[in-house]
């Protein structure tokens, strides 16, 4: 049965195509690692080297030790920001989603409409309004200024609301008979049952936060509040001489997420599919 055009290819040809494409997609990773382990002379040489020998691991220590790059501090900032943003934004969305799905209060529909309306606002374009508010509260160059605007994801609220609407009511009914109030029902029954959803959306939030560029660029103007992306970008746009150092910088900013993709891929795929299908 041939249900798509690739079905007509013979298995061998299809395997070859898949292998070729896989190689193309992974090539940039190979180049990044190879270049990070070369020395400047080797990189400038027109003679191609497949793999550096010896490997120049000192590029990495030089990168982290260079006081003008602030790379160590920036990596720490990024880890802290993404490490706070992912769980907090996901929990806030889950709690709000539960409230909108289950707790009958007058005016709930209006409030939900106000949440939905914010979905129409495209994320990055509004950096000027967000800067105005965060700046007026003294958030420039602060950790909370970097984190706070990213904690409130209306889209995740809707995903969680749908999730809790489809959650079997009988289970909660039993908890209610045991004397749990609304908050107890959420805390003891609904939240513990949301593990996969929390992990999926949390993983996506971590990735978005770690890779964010425009907002950290706008709000983190002092090197002490740079994130890894800003430090790398500053390194890239300020000079082009220390090439192996640049690639080493790329490796250290990319490696944590690649590791996460390999470990938590199931949740990431699930998260993309969930948000996309409802998107």
């Amino acid at each position: 049965m041939t249900n798509n055009p690739f079905g007509r290819l013979r298995p061998g040809a299809r395997g070859l195509l898949v292998g070729l494409l896989t190689a193309v997609f992974l090539t940039p990773f190979y180049l990044m690692l190879r270049n990070a382990l070369m020395d400047s002379r080797g990189l400038a040489s027109p003679r191609w080297t497949w793999w550096p020998s010896p490997m120049h691991w000192e590029n990495f220590t030089a990168l982290l030790d260079d006081p003008t790059l602030h790379m160590g501090r920036a990596l720490g900032n990024s880890l802290l920001i993404a490490g706070i943003t992912a769980p907090v934004s996901t929990l806030l969305a889950s709690a709000a989603g539960y409230a909108f799905a289950r707790i009958p209060v007058p005016g709930r529909g209006v409030l939900l409409a106000l949440v939905v309306a914010t979905l129409m606002i495209p994320g990055s374009v509004t950096f000027v309004p967000t800067f105005v508010v965060v700046g007026s509260m003294g958030g420039v160059n602060t950790l909370w200024g970097l984190i706070a605007p990213g904690l409130f994801n209306p889209f995740a609220v809707l995903l969680f609301r749908n999730f809790y609407l489809q959650f079997p009511a009988e289970i909660e009914e039993a908890g209610r008979l045991d004397g749990l109030g609304w908050f107890g029902l959420y805390r003891r029954i609904a939240l513990p049952a949301s593990g996969a959803m929390l992990a999926s959306l949390g993983a996506l939030a971590f990735i978005d936060s770690w890779n964010a560029f425009l907002w950290p660029l706008v709000i983190g103007q002092d090197p002490s509040s740079w994130t890894a992306q800003i430090a790398l970008s500053t390194f890239l746009t300020s000079q082009t001489i220390n090439l192996p150092g640049l690639f080493a910088g790329a490796v250290v900013t990319v490696a944590p997420l690649v590791a996460m993709f390999l470990i938590a891929q199931r949740y990431i795929v699930e998260g993309i599919a969930t948000s996309g299908l409802k998107g």
Binding site: L17, Q166, F213
Partner: protein, 330 residues
């Protein structure tokens, strides 16, 4: 990242009707039960509502007032200038050309990404052995930031040196070595921009298409195959119509993302404050960044944010109307 809440699910996992128990909760003392419900609601939804209120509603309201003010180097209101900022913005050739450029960029990147991600999904869907490995290989570039990818594209793949990767590959086909990023006629830098975004994004959309493909019932294909349909015909008559909702979602997400392009333009062309605008192309967001953060003109910057938001919302709505987005949903 998303602009529309509508559900696109109409097959596959059937959407169950909304179950809302306890709308008429057995409340002997309604006053007290009401207060309890309000308390829990405020506790659970309150932080989110306050956050959205502050960072969306207050921000946008304030910024709207700023867009009607002369606000150089200040975010204080008071110096009203009416629609001057909007007039100035729309008359500025730099802003206009940034709009033209981003439309061209969107027209280039969206169909290519759409076709490649759909193709990869169809391919991966057919792979039986090692599917997880192949899927990972296509998805993992999504872990890379635009900054790191720009670095790789600018300093390695398209570095313009005769021994650079792109020039070496071009040489196999008899092309002379060219400085990719600096070549504006013909605009070779577009190849750099499109391939970069393609590599980063295509896996994400492939996963969406794969989820859509898995939702297509097998017996639909079996029935069609019994009728003698094969290959491209099956694709056109069955697979693509069944992926309609996914396709609309993918197009919309791509459009919104492309229109807000900033990171790769900033990093590839040094177009930020330090680089002094060497880019052959400034996107509207780069223009806004220069206006608000560089020149500290928050009035003009706010006006720009509103013009762009209006454009994105308008196109999204038109696209939704044309493709019947949301119809046949929950």
């Amino acid at each position: 990242m998303n602009a529309t809440p509508d559900s696109t699910r109409s097959f596959g996992r059937a959407a169950s009707p909304a179950t809302q128990p306890w709308v008429h909760a057995p409340a002997r003392r309604p006053g007290r039960a009401d207060r309890r419900a309000w308390g829990a609601f405020a506790l659970l939804a309150g932080p989110m509502l306050i956050g959205l209120g502050t960072f969306k509603y207050v921000a946008i309201g304030w910024s709207f007032l700023l867009s009607l003010s002369d606000a150089h180097g200040t975010i204080a209101l008071g110096h009203w200038v009416g629609l001057d900022n909007y007039r100035h913005l729309l008359a500025d050739p730099a802003f206009r050309s940034s709009l033209v450029r981003i439309v061209l960029f969107t027209l280039a990147i969206v169909p290519v990404t759409f076709a490649v991600s759909l193709g990869l999904a169809l391919l991966v869907h057919r792979v039986r052995r090692g599917r997880a490995v192949v899927r990972t290989a296509f998805l993992i570039p999504a872990a890379v930031s635009y900054v790191a990818a720009s670095l790789l594209w600018k300093m390695c793949l398209f570095n313009g040196l005769p021994a650079g990767i792109a020039n070496t590959v071009g040489g196999w086909f008899g092309m002379a070595a060219v400085p990719w990023l600096q070549t504006t006629d013909p605009p070779l830098y577009w190849i750099v921009l499109v391939t970069l975004r393609l590599w980063l994004q295509v896996g994400f959309y492939m996963v969406l298409f794969l989820a859509g493909l898995q939702a297509v019932p097998r017996d639909v294909y079996e029935a069609a195959a019994l009728d003698g349909a094969t290959g491209l015909r099956l694709l056109r008559r069955i697979t693509l119509p069944m992926l309609r909702n996914t396709s609309v979602t993918v197009l919309m997400l791509q459009f919104i993302a492309a229109f807000q392009a900033f990171d790769e333009f900033y990093n590839l062309f040094n177009s930020g404050l330090s680089g002094g605008g060497t880019a052959p192309v400034r996107t509207p967001l780069v223009y806004l960044y220069d206006t608000a953060m560089g020149a500290q003109d928050y009035g003009l910057g706010s006006a720009g944010a509103f013009v762009l938001t209006a454009l994105i919302v308008a196109v999204t709505l038109v696209q939704g109307r044309l493709t019947g987005f949301g119809k046949g949903g929950e």
